[in-house]
Symmetry: C2
Subunit: 187 residues, 2 copies
């Protein structure tokens, strides 16, 4: 399989969603008329998406759910990591899986040699803890949100050192790509 | 007076200090042999520094306190905002002040037409809440810390929209300068 890429839009103060999973600040940031070059590149390299349940529920509540990924242009498989598969809604567009190892393996098989893209803070934290994340792609929005869903789960989390491999700007947003260098396991 | 500039080194996940105010990750990031261009520019534009008590105590504990600012090259006035002036240590290099308005005004007078530079999350949050911050200068370090002192105080804090005015890279670090566009007061 390809790489596992954690792909996020983040406020300058480290939130990937505002209070109550609001994403209006990110929609303020992006603009369909001018697609983000790095975002497009990541999409083209992706063979399957693995989202968390928090991301999935927020996507259904705030836009078109799985149908809204990449403005509706994403046509590949979408997996959702959940602890409660019996609670999962009936959604022909998403496959619910339990257990982070199984989820990454399943998405990796479905990706057919392309990358697996991770959406959501909780699933990303689990993947980082298990050593599964190869790269982090961040669109840094010019706003301090002050509250919301943190990029890197609930502290304390182990330190992860990164190597920057790309830096671009698209208007007010800064686009960053990092390779995971090593993880320092806490304790 | 000049502008009020909030100047920080930050981890990618939004911490300005690690657990127990540790700064080893930032010293990993910088290297005296190759000064950071934007950092030097900010120093030259600065007429006075206003730090918070948290910043001051951490600086005394982890390096040379006020004498360690800019690797010992800072020779101008340093003010420290504190609620407990009677608890302040005897330090001929620092002037302790109470009340954020008085502190910014006092530092502004001392700056003699140059900028006031803000060090520390707590004092910056108070200055932002009072509308005193004109610019934010951030050195973004390639590390997820997972825990520590947050950039933007304790949530919830009001949203602040920014306009990016500069983007540079110095090795693995990304240097950013933003103008405070408007603050949306919560509630």
């Amino acid at each position: 399989m390809g790489k596992v890429i954690w792909h996020i839009t983040m406020s300058l103060d480290g939130f990937i969603a505002g209070p109550e999973h609001s994403m209006d600040w990110a929609f303020d940031t992006f603009n369909d008329a001018q697609p983000n070059r790095l975002g497009e590149e990541v999409m083209k390299e992706t063979g399957a998406i693995l989202g968390g349940r928090g991301w999935y529920d927020a996507a259904r509540a705030s836009y078109d759910g799985v149908d809204g990924i990449y403005g509706g242009r994403w046509k590949g498989p979408v997996f959702v990591l959940t602890h409660h598969r019996h609670d999962a809604p009936a959604d022909p567009k998403a496959t619910f899986v339990s257990g982070v190892e199984e989820a990454v393996a399943t998405a990796g098989d479905a990706a057919g040699g392309k990358n697996v893209e991770i959406f959501g803070a909780n699933v990303a934290r689990q993947c980082l803890d298990a050593g599964f994340i190869d790269e982090v792609v961040i669109h840094l929005a010019p706003v301090l949100l002050g509250d919301g869903v943190r990029l890197y789960g609930t502290p304390p989390a182990p330190r992860v050192d990164l190597e920057r491999t790309l830096l671009e700007e698209s208007r007010n947003v800064v686009d960053l790509r990092y390779r995971v260098r090593r993880q320092r396991v806490a304790g």
